[in-house]
Symmetry: C2
Subunit: 140 residues, 2 copies
């Protein structure tokens, strides 16, 4: 299970201490720069679309299983799968962003809190199923 | 960027032809079975919680960049990053599911359309930022 970088983040954020915990908490607008050989994969995306960007949080520890959410000592320790901590066995980041501009194989996006040069591994459109609570009466 | 399997899917779904395209379209309830060595990462998750499960879609082609959404020949071809197709450079699946039961390191979940034995690479709680449109007036 080997990931390839499909692109990289270009952002003014350069260190973890200054990066917001979540994109909507003041992340500066950033660029996603796709590799030439996968840029056809962007066809159909438009300005204003909301997408999930999946990143590889390359500076994260992978041997952490319990942590305090938001690195706040006041929060009780939780399993990492109940947090969005970047420290987890597979440090994949999930970021909902909005496309502000498209320039060839570059996307300008809002609300991406990933650091400059973070590898990008996937982009997916947001669909209804991502936003809707699973109804108790759902089809089995 | 090497992923490790943190667990596997146990589901009655065994082939792609019979699997729904999205979990809410009739996926049977399934189990997520975590590996022993990462099971502490589940601490704090509760019945009723909604989480994103990230899977490795091991049967998918990785050399596809354009496809017809939902494999429907009537749909115009799109870049894969504008679809949820499993065929993409990094075949990571993103599934919003609801936890129905917890039995040690096994989670019973609703709305998981992944096939039996699909490797799981991450579990993340759904947070507000996943569900909310990025406001035009967001802080830069």
């Amino acid at each position: 299970m080997e990931l390839v970088a499909i692109g990289f983040v270009q952002s003014p954020l350069v260190d973890r201490a200054s990066a917001p915990k979540q994109g909507y908490e003041g992340a500066p607008d950033a660029w996603i720069v796709l590799e030439e050989d996968v840029s056809k994969g962007l066809d159909g995306l438009e300005i204003g679309d909301e997408v999930f960007v999946l990143t590889w949080l390359h500076q994260s520890r992978r041997d952490v299983l319990r942590t305090r959410p938001r690195d706040d000592p006041a929060n009780p320790e939780q399993g990492v799968f109940n947090t969005r901590s970047s420290e987890r066995p597979n440090p994949i980041g999930l970021h909902r962003v909005k496309i502000l501009a498209i320039d060839g194989r570059r996307l300008r996006v809002r609300n991406l809190e990933a650091l400059n040069e973070t590898p990008i591994v996937d982009i997916k459109p947001v669909i209804e199923a991502d936003e809707k609570r699973v109804g108790d009466g759902a089809v089995r």
